[in-house]
């Protein structure tokens, strides 16, 4: 059983590392192992083939310090390419590939996908409002707390909506991010911050000989 698993793992690693742009073979192997430690907890019980939404969110929360439920859901959707409710091992590696090492283009595409809540290719005013609605602290003096959010959405649109159609296309988004890199995660953190990122890589990719 173990050897079979081992062989399968080898094969899997080989096939994935051929397609993976940013990871080498060793790193892929480590990530697959990491994947299986998480899978072990759930899969054995349910016999599923991937990490389910809750486990994934746990990983995002504990390992990468994300807090926003909605964004975490969206990140899950971005990882779960086939939309089956589970992140399988291929999705896991290709997702992390962008998540950890993506080029600016890849990261922009990924972030835009996360922010485009309904997947229509635009980030609309409503979507922005939805994503930003918790971004301002409650101010007792304000009569309508939504007023500030609306205003913030307007500011964002003014800044990013280059074709002035009242919504952000990918082109709008791309132009803005190239102008100002800070706007990559304009509507909420969906990439690991550099500190967590380093910690994660250090933990997962640590040299087995060091153990």
């Amino acid at each position: 059983m173990y050897t079979v698993n081992r062989k399968r793992l080898q094969k899997l690693t080989d096939s994935i590392s051929k397609t993976s742009k940013h990871f080498n073979r060793y790193e892929v192997e480590c990530l697959i192992k990491f994947f299986h430690t998480f899978l072990g907890e759930t899969a054995e019980k349910q016999g599923s083939i991937g990490i389910d939404r809750n486990t994934f969110r746990n990983i995002l929360h504990i390992t990468f310090g994300m807090t926003d439920d909605m964004i975490m859901d969206r990140v899950f959707r971005a990882f779960d390419k086939d939309n089956d409710g589970f992140v399988n091992v291929t999705e896991w590696i290709s997702g992390l590939c962008i998540f950890l090492r993506g080029s600016l283009e890849e990261r922009m595409k990924y972030c835009f996908e996360v922010y485009d809540l309904n997947g229509d290719g635009f980030i609309s005013r409503e979507e922005m409002f939805h994503m930003l609605k918790n971004s301002l602290l409650k101010q007792p003096s304000e009569e309508d707390p939504d007023e500030g959010i609306k205003d913030l959405v307007d500011i964002t649109l003014k800044k990013m909506d280059h074709d002035h159609d009242g919504k952000l296309s990918f082109t709008d988004y791309e132009t803005s991010v190239r102008e100002e890199a800070l706007l990559l995660e304009a509507f909420g953190p969906c990439l690991p911050d550099s500190k967590r990122h380093l910690e994660f890589e250090a933990q997962v990719f640590k040299d087995p000989h060091d153990l």
Partner: protein, 1047 residues
Amino acid sequence: MGVALTRAAQWTTAGFGKGTLELTPLNEALLNDIIKFVESFRVKYPQEAEFVFKEPLRWKTTLEPSEFESGYIVSDTGVLSEENSKDGQPLLILSGKDIQVSSFGQLSRLLELAKDKKLKETQICLEANRDPVVKILGAGYGIVEGEEDSSAIRFLDKMKKDDGHASIKMKISLLLQQLDVLLLNNSLKHISLEIRLNPATIKNDVDLLKRFSGEGEQTVLESIEYTSDFEFANGCRAPPWRQMHGEICYLMVKPHDCDSIYVTCSTAGVFVNGGKKNEAEEINYERHSEIFKDLVTFLRHTSAKFSENMSKQKHSFLGGKKKEKKKLKSVTEKEETLSLPKSSVISVKSPSEKRRMVRKLEPSLKWTSSAVPQEKKDSSKESQDEKSATLSVTDKPKSVSPSTSAGKTQSSSRRKSFEKVEELSSESSSESEEDEEQPDHRQEGQTDLPSEYWQIQKLVKYLKGGNQTATVIALCSMRDFNLTQETCQLAIRDVGGLEVLINLLDTDDVKCKIGSLKILKEISNNSQIRRTIVDLGGLPIMVKILDSPDKNLKCLAAETIANVANFKRARRTVRQHGGIKKLVELLDYAQSKTDPMHRHALYETKDVEVARCGALALWSCSKSHANKEAIRKAGGIPLLARLLKSSHENMLIPVVGTLQECASEEHYRAAIKAERIIENLVKNLSSENEVLQEHCAMAIYQCAEDEETRDLVRQHGGLKPLAALLNNTDNKERLAAVTGAIWKCAISKENVTKFREYKAIETLVGLLTDQPEEVLVNVVGALGECCQEQENRVIIRRCGGIQPLVNLLVGTNQALLVNVTKAVGACATEPENMMIIDRLDGVRLLWSLLKNPHPDVKASAAWALCPCIENAKDAGEMVRSFVGGLELVVNLLKSENKEVLASVCAAITNIAKDQENLAVITDHGVVPLLSKLANTNNDKLRWHLAEAISRCCMWGRNRIAFGEHKAVAPLVRYLRSKDPNVHRATAQALYQLSEDANNCITMHENGAVKLLLDMVGSPDEELQEAAAGCISNIRRLALATEKAKYS
């Protein structure tokens, strides 16, 4: 009640001694409250009402005896109360107009009797008894300044000590205190409703009204003028002792329908004053009317015509008024700067007229059209509508808008009084900057300012109250404003944005830090912002950020530090928080292998960029002496040297800039030599970048004080590019640096030869005209060095360089004069040059420089005179032709400065070559003055002094005189000096002096013979000869003495 009365009540301050309560709404309210209190006292506190006052309250009442009813014994002359105190005194005594009341009970009844005169009566009573509490309870209960807080406790203590009625007294005092608090609270309500006037608003009003005044029916007033043209710095025109009473200025207003009125504008409001009887007299400052809240209200009330015409113009007037106020503010600000050039055009005009002129020049045509409603009523109406549409926006931010920021900064600077001076000086400089760009800048500000201001304020609000996502959006959006524009910069500061931005630096979020630094970097170009950042403690945080692993952050932090560390205190702060060391570490980035950990940093940064930013920050910091030292200690020099090999221009500039700045330190120059930096400096002289060339030349200039360095520059082929750069004269800063480098390099002879080869001398001569002083100083300095060689002197003459040099002798710049005199002096060693100098009257110019207050100039001029006198034809005649010249030279021997003394001695040596002149200077007392100098240790002075003495011996009985003034013995000691020049000059002087027998004796006594015998063995023939001559004179005297003895 005491506190309320002393503090809140508005006493007329005009009269001295007894003050009177003014009839202001506030006072009326106060009085009514007091009346209510007293009236109800008898009913509410019957026991306390019987308490007899320590001292009766006395005043002159308006009540008639007949008005008193039952309970009083009324007689013709007065009234006594039936109620008596324990010792039988009536509690109320009225005799004539004087009334005395000794209890609250009686007071209450009195007020009841007074009916409608209540108010008047209370007022008079309080005016007569400024501190009623003291009279009621005793002196111990008075109001002590600054002690209100503890008064309750004090009263309690007092109470215990007091005898008798303790509890009653206690109650009364508590009641009075309650009343006091009540009064204060009420008066606060009143005060808060009041809008106090200030000089600016009054000025605006007056200026505005002036525009609508003049002859004719349509105008609102015939005239309105200040009584005084002088305006104090605070904007007031009232004399200082009146300003103490809150008065701002006095106006003479002539409405259409009544006589001229004199009006006082004070912070409390506007009222009619006593006016002037005639021109010479002072204004009678007493108030003669009620107080109006502002000038317009007052005039409306006073002049019917005014309010009629005002309502006609109401539209244009009031609508525009607010806008106008803003404009006027900028006009008045401009006035200061514009009035100078303007006045040269308008020449003699009264200040008020000038003001009008300036205002006309204000390019707001719209407004002037609405000011003449008759002609363009329609258009003015239209424009009016436009204006009122914008008004809701424009008038709101007025109180806080950056146009008033000058005042704000002042108040903030007052807060930080410890650095007030620094603050103010910076302010003035920033203001002058502002002035330069004012015309379009202001105009722009007027229209854009309000919306920008509000938008920025909104963004700052989101910065404060948003999570990191909102913060990043707000930060990015803020960057869309033109942050180089002062209005935006100050708007950010004024809405408290700087605090937030700096706080963000202290968070964990990298994105927020980056966004915040990006803004800080931009706005820190403004000196006021820089100071505020330092005051808010921004620098230590930025220094801490330098440690961050994120390179982007490091860069931004270093760049911001580079901007902020533009003044001393900031640089010190950077150093004290260990910033220099960290910045130096940044320099190491370009070389050290990239840490694999950072390879995938989220935002790509280049290591070179980090080093560049580090160098940029060090450049700013290196302007402080202690920082230079810190950079060196942190090992910055080798790193800078390494970076200097880089090929990135924008990296080289800060690196060379830092080196150039630091090269003023001896340590650095040594290190620069040791680190082979010169080579790279020379290489970069040939760069394309002018700024880089400039700094390289500057660094060479600083370092070339050292001979070895000069040789290095030559060996690395630096002289040719330097000479080549002379041909480009457009960039004056670079030219100054290049000529400076040439000057210093030319101190070495080999370098001069090279320069001659490169035809640099000709070019330098060409630069003697039409250049700024900093360039001229260096050019002339360089020529002065070149002139040490005969060949170059000829070149200069042939290129026509002597005339411009002589022309420069009339300048005022000390450094320039020192160099020019040196160059002219060097030229004068050539007889042909001397002829030209003489023809141009150069000697006279040099001579007059002896009067220059600066000792360096004096000395340099005197040195230059020596070759002139030596080489001029008919030198004696020429010298005599300068009236008072010889006396001037002789008097310079009284100087304290050794260099001046040496140079003047040298000049005297040359002057004394002419017998007639020698006679004149002898008459001016040159001998005692020279003799007095004899006791010096300075070899240079000794040398020239000895020469001068030897020359001066040639006249009359000067030899004997030197002996008499005890110059001989010290001269003998000169022979023990190590300087051969001193030996020669001294031997010659002694030889001359030894012609006198007494001097010989002195020399002999001081052991001159032995010393002179040694000198005879010198290889210097002149010295030999003089020494031998002197010995022979001494010997001859000895022989003669012996002969006389035995014969």
